[in-house]
């Protein structure tokens, strides 16, 4: 009997391993989905800059770097560093800074956060500063640009009213591509 029990256990382990592999094999493509979404988000973040006009004084010098900050947990990781590599908008080279404290967001030009825990504080810090705030959808607070998934494509909504409060001018070419645009009441 004991022998039987031992054999049953091994068989059960074997089965569970096989099942686990099978599940893993099934899950692998599903897991690849977010890994494709993040590089796209990283690329978008690097491409917003040319369509945005910052107010005078936002840059210390004409060749000062344009800083893209990531507040809180960083889902993009190396994707963003790769996307920014060697990129320029005008004379400003793009750089990435990951913030330890969300309050440091006031010195950024573009602030991205996907972390629901720090989003509120980061946006608070950037408020009334010429910082383009970008968030993922589904957060308790929304930035000026928020990513949304439409089918297989990554789109975005734009809150132009908030951008205007921050003295940022968003190119109409970018507005034309937004899923929705919230404009300031005139």
């Amino acid at each position: 009997m004991g022998r039987h029990k031992g054999r049953d256990l091994r068989a059960a382990v074997k089965t569970s391993i096989a099942c686990g592999l099978a599940v893993l094999a099934v899950l692998m493509p599903a897991g690849a989905q977010p890994s494709l979404e993040n590089p796209v988000k990283a690329a978008y973040l690097s491409k917003f800059a040319p369509f945005i006009e910052w107010p005078a004084g936002a840059f210390a010098t004409p060749t000062a770097p344009l800083v893209i900050c990531v507040a809180g947990a960083d889902p993009l990781g190396a994707n963003l560093d790769r996307a920014v590599q060697g990129q320029k908008t005008g004379e400003h080279p793009l750089t990435v800074r990951r913030l330890a404290e969300p309050e440091a967001a006031a010195d950024c030009h573009i602030l991205y956060t996907a972390d629901p825990l720090v989003a509120g504080a980061a946006l608070e810090a950037a408020a009334a500063r010429p910082v383009l705030t970008v968030t993922d959808s589904g957060l308790p607070v929304q930035g000026m640009i928020s990513f949304v998934r439409v089918g297989n494509n990554l789109r975005f909504d734009i809150d132009e009213a908030r951008a205007q409060e921050a003295r940022l001018v968003i190119s109409s070419k970018l507005l034309a591509l937004a899923r929705t645009v919230r404009r300031s009441p005139r």
Binding site: V40, K47, P50, T89, G90, N153, K173
Partner: protein, 443 residues
């Protein structure tokens, strides 16, 4: 003749003008065409530029749908054959084609008209960032249509050139024709004047003929009557004359008058070419030489006589009558020079192909010309034309009979010669006798 020469200056000038016009027209058309082509290229470039600017966002954020909308907007331009949008990786994200115009894998275009199409590639940039490329291909207007567009202009210029050529050619032909007409007109006028002169001469000749016949007939009968009266007077004188040698005064006066009447009838007969002549061969030069003393005596001391006797040929005429004629003409010359002057008597052998003066029924041939030229008062044209009319005289009443030149004329004509009178007021008078040459000599 020279007018019909090959080099016609107005025609050449017109051809040059027409050629210049054509050349200028062609140059203008080419220039216009060049401008139009440049404009076409510029227009396509602008389209590409606009497309590139429009699709910047769509390219940056990989929005194929938005990019396609922008591309689709271009299809309203029928000139565009194809358009494409490429992202920074070189992938085509939007495009349209018309007909079988495949979009290229790699967007490239030189912005020139090539094989009837223009291809332009233009980078998509945003704030200095190169995001991708757009490609536009447009149809250039075909050469045939372009030429057709200038066909009207070419036609007009060609017509203008043609009109210039035709006008100038017809103009030169016209002026040539006008020149010919003017020449013909001048000839016609000359012929008409010649004809009028000939007619006048003929009329004069007929008049002379008629007057001559009439007066000649009368003179002839009259002469016979004079002879009868004269014979009877002679018989009467024999009867009445008691002592021969003692003339009866009345009969003598009557006989004297009859002699004068007989002389008059003789002159009229001479004019009417009815006088009895005894023509013999004679050389006028010799005849005149023999008359030297007589002529000198007749014209007096105030008139100088110069003789130039060159004639050698013989003529046939009545010597006595010829001497009379020469004497008569010399006396006429003297009367025309009351204050003295010079009388030139000349003889020449001449061959006449046409009449020397207004002479009807002239026969060309060899003549001996006898000319008497004075330096007197001359005659006006009217007087000259009537000079040989019988009983026409410019001398005072009773001084001349008006038969001198008439007689001369009658005698010369009866001898087969011609009389020509040349005169003008103040320029003297020239009377020329043309006596036909004879082969006979006096042996």
């Amino acid at each position: 003749m020279s007018r019909r020469a090959r080099f016609n200056p107005p025609a050449i000038a017109a051809l040059a003008a027409a050629g210049f016009l054509l050349a200028a027209g062609i140059l203008m058309a080419r220039y216009e065409d060049r401008l139009y082509s440049d404009q076409q290229i510029k227009s396509v470039n602008e389209q590409a530029h606009i497309l590139a600017a429009s699709v910047a966002g769509a390219v940056a954020f990989d929005d194929a749908k938005a990019a396609q909308e922008f591309v689709q907007a271009l299809t309203v331009n029928p000139q565009l054959l194809a358009a494409g949008v490429y992202d920074d990786a070189g992938r085509r994200i939007a495009g349209f084609t018309r007909g079988n115009n495949a979009l290229p894998e790699v967007p490239e275009g030189n912005g020139e008209i090539e094989a009837g199409r223009i291809e332009v590639a233009y980078p998509v940039t945003q704030n200095g960032n190169r995001l991708g490329m757009v490609f536009v291909r447009a149809a250039a207007e075909p050469a045939g249509r372009r030429i057709a567009r200038y066909a009207g202009l070419i036609l007009l210029v060609t017509m203008g050139a043609l009109v210039i050529v035709v006008l100038s050619v017809s103009q030169s032909a016209l002026s040539r024709r006008a020149g010919q007409l003017a020449a013909v007109n001048r000839r016609l006028q000359a012929e008409m004047a010649e004809r009028a002169r000939t007619e006048e001469a003929l009329r004069q000749a007929h008049k002379m003929e008629a007057v001559g016949q009439l007066s000649g007939g009368i003179a002839h009968d009259f002469n016979n009557l004079i002879m009868i009266v004269k014979g009877n007077l002679r018989l009467l004188r024999k009867r009445l004359d008691p002592a021969p040698g003692q003339p009866v005064p009345y009969i003598a006066a009557a006989e004297e008058a009859l002699d004068r009447a007989a002389a008059l009838t003789q002159r009229i007969l001479a004019f009417s070419r009815r006088q009895p002549l005894t023509p013999v061969p004679v050389r006028l030069s010799v005849l005149i030489e023999g008359m030297g003393q007589l002529l000198k005596h007749s014209v007096g001391d105030t008139v100088e006589i110069e003789t130039r006797l060159h004639a050698q040929w013989w003529v046939r005429c009545d010597v006595n009558q010829m001497e009379n004629v020469i004497l008569n003409l010399a006396i006429n010359a003297r009367d025309a020079m009351p204050n003295g002057g010079k009388l030139t008597i000349e003889t020449r052998d001449v061959h006449l192909a046409e009449a020397p003066g207004d002479i009807a029924d002239f026969t060309p041939g060899d003549y001996v010309a006898l000319t008497l030229r004075d330096t007197g008062m001359g005659m006006d044209e009217e007087t000259r034309l009537r000079a040989v009319d019988p009983f026409f005289t410019t001398k005072p009443l009773g001084k001349g009979t008006g038969l001198g030149l008439s007689m001369t004329f009658g005698f010369v004509r009866q001898s087969g010669g011609y009389l020509a009178i040349d005169s003008a007021p103040g320029k003297g008078t020239k009377v020329a006798l043309y006596m036909p040459r004879t082969e006979e000599t006096s042996g």
